[in-house]
């Protein structure tokens, strides 16, 4: 790692680091979905991770977000190891990572507003007026003002995922993981998502203009080919680093080619 000037500040630790991590499954406690993953994500990176259905993308991100410890190996987030430890020591680091689940995974008994407000109110990060302003800003960002007092059950799936995004951004994480953000969306919704993700990467006012470190998973590389800067693949229980855009396009892996040209399937 190079330091640009002679200032004595040490280099930033990577946003996320997996060292020989073996990743289990949230649903099936006996299964192993990814073996020996090594991954280093620098601050400011924008990763796209491809893989077919059931390749373990969701479990991989759940582990990266710190809710499921790796079965073996280590996970470091912003330089701190997220293994066994006291909750009050690990929690500040864990909250620097946000995760948008596939489908949103909203709390079905709460309204949309309460869902978004829950992390803010639970952690009491702000005074109440400031918190209300933040909740309102998140509703405006996702265009969900009209739904604020409805429950998730009354909502279409594409909007539920937006609530998931608003909720994940509530605590202003520095690293955002998005699980299959484009699944089941129509072109207009997809465009909205791609646009907002680009804005978050570049620095959005909702995050005080600070560029975010991002990782998305998808079963299609096409939307990310010109957006993400680093690429990886989940295949046969292994996590394969592909490199940058040029390496992605040059990859001879048949699955990469398949994931890159998925959109052509739809056009006969």
């Amino acid at each position: 790692m190079k330091t640009p000037d002679s200032s004595p500040t040490p280099p930033l630790p990577p946003a996320l680091e997996m060292i020989g991590a073996t990743i289990g499954s949230l649903v099936n406690t006996d299964a192993v979905v990814v073996e020996l993953a090594n991954w280093k994500m620098e601050v400011g990176d924008y990763w796209a991770i491809g893989g077919l259905q059931a390749s373990g993308k969701s479990d991989f991100l759940a582990t990266a977000a710190g809710i499921m410890p790796p079965l073996r190996g280590a996970l470091r987030v912003f330089g701190q190891e997220l293994g066994l430890g006291f909750e009050h020591e690990l929690m500040p680091t864990r909250l620097r990572v946000g995760l948008v689940f596939d489908g949103g995974r909203l709390l079905s008994h709460l309204t949309i507003l309460e869902n978004i407000a829950l992390p803010i109110r639970y952690h009491q990060r702000h005074a109440s007026a400031e918190a209300e302003a933040r909740i309102q800003a998140l509703l405006d960002l996702t265009g969900l003002e009209a739904w604020a007092d409805r429950t998730p059950g009354a909502m279409r799936r594409n909007l539920q995922q937006r609530v998931g995004l608003a909720r994940a951004l509530a605590l202003k994480p520095e690293l955002l993981l998005l699980d299959n953000p484009l699944s089941g969306l129509d072109p207009r919704d997809s465009a909205w998502w791609l646009d907002i993700i680009d804005q978050l990467c570049a620095g959005h006012s909702i995050m005080d203009g600070r560029p975010m470190t991002l990782a998305v998973t998808d079963d299609n590389f096409a939307p990310w080919r010109d957006r993400a800067r680093q690429f990886a693949l989940l295949k046969n229980k292994s996590f394969m680093l592909l490199g940058g855009r040029a390496e992605l396009l040059a990859s001879t892996d048949p699955l990469v080619q398949e994931l890159l040209h998925t959109e052509q399937l739809a056009m006969p």
Partner: protein, 276 residues
């Protein structure tokens, strides 16, 4: 949460020793899992007593409403029925054989010590406990628990603690109402049957049979029942990965085991009554 209640499935038993051994190991696993879950909940209750009060307090209030206030009409109806049907009959029967002197003792033993708490616990279990397992089991199956964890919210603190507190207070308060109404309506029945017993005599007998320990043990017992119902139902809803189709089976098992544990604890209290 790494609590597993593994059960070993086998075809029809070839050897009954094996069969009972498996059952016994399954039972011990459940006891182990439940015990660990209860201890974790207790730990969280104390360590996070002051955490996120603006979020947790409304949940506790809501739970008290669900497993207390909303059940009040049903409890009052049952108390009335209990008083009229059972207590009234006992009163008139005792009168006929001239055993009026034992009336207070019998009322206190039957209603205050045994029937009141147990009946209330069963009502709370059937109305609020089942809702609990289904609500939590569905949340677990749909991945809402992981969503909480990712937001740095302890699922035990957010989902279990309010239920334990609410149910303990719910069972306690409802038992008090049940006992009061049952005793009064019991006298009403006796009065309608022209039993020669003045209200003064009736309540004096009751007061003489009640001891200080009855009040203490009643409180402890009803709190214990509330905590047991909440813990067992939350354990079955939350503690292991569930698929949607398994929720109904989890509910059935949770209800059955809540009843068993409540009755066992009730038996334990009889021992305390005998010793004290």
């Amino acid at each position: 949460m790494e609590i597993s209640t593994r059960s070993w499935k086998a075809p029809l038993p070839r050897s009954y020793v094996d069969f009972f051994g498996r059952k016994l190991i399954g039972f011990l696993n459940i006891v182990h899992g439940l015990g660990a879950f209860a201890l974790i909940t207790l730990g969280v209750m104390f360590t996070k007593f002051r955490t996120a009060r603006p979020v947790i307090h409304p949940l506790v209030v809501n739970q008290i409403s669900q497993s207390g206030v909303q059940l009040l009409p049903m409890i009052l109806f049952l108390a009335l029925a209990l008083g009229l049907v059972i207590i009234g009959q006992t009163v008139s029967l005792l009168n006929r054989v001239g055993a009026n002197a034992y009336l207070g003792t019998i009322m206190v033993t039957v209603v205050v010590r045994e029937l009141g708490p147990l009946l209330t616990a069963l009502i709370v279990l059937s109305r609020a406990g089942t809702a609990n397992v289904i609500e939590l089991g569905t949340a677990r199956a749909l991945g809402e628990v992981e969503a909480l964890e990712v937001l740095g919210i302890d699922p035990i603190h957010y989902l279990v603690v309010p239920r334990v507190v609410g149910m303990a207070l719910g069972v306690f308060s409802l038992t008090v109402y049940l006992i009061l109404v049952a005793l009064v309506s019991g006298y009403l029945w006796a009065f309608l049957q022209n039993v020669p017993l003045t209200p003064g005599d009736y309540f004096r007998q009751l007061a003489e049979s009640l001891r200080g320990r009855d009040f203490v043990l009643l409180a402890l017992k009803t709190w214990a029942f509330g905590v047991i119902i909440a813990t067992v139902t939350c354990f079955y809803g939350l503690a292991q990965p569930l698929r949607l189709e398994e929720v109904s089976r989890a509910a059935v098992r949770a209800v059955a085991q809540s009843v068993i544990v409540c009755v066992l604890v009730d038996a334990l209290f009889i021992v305390i009554y005998l010793v004290a």
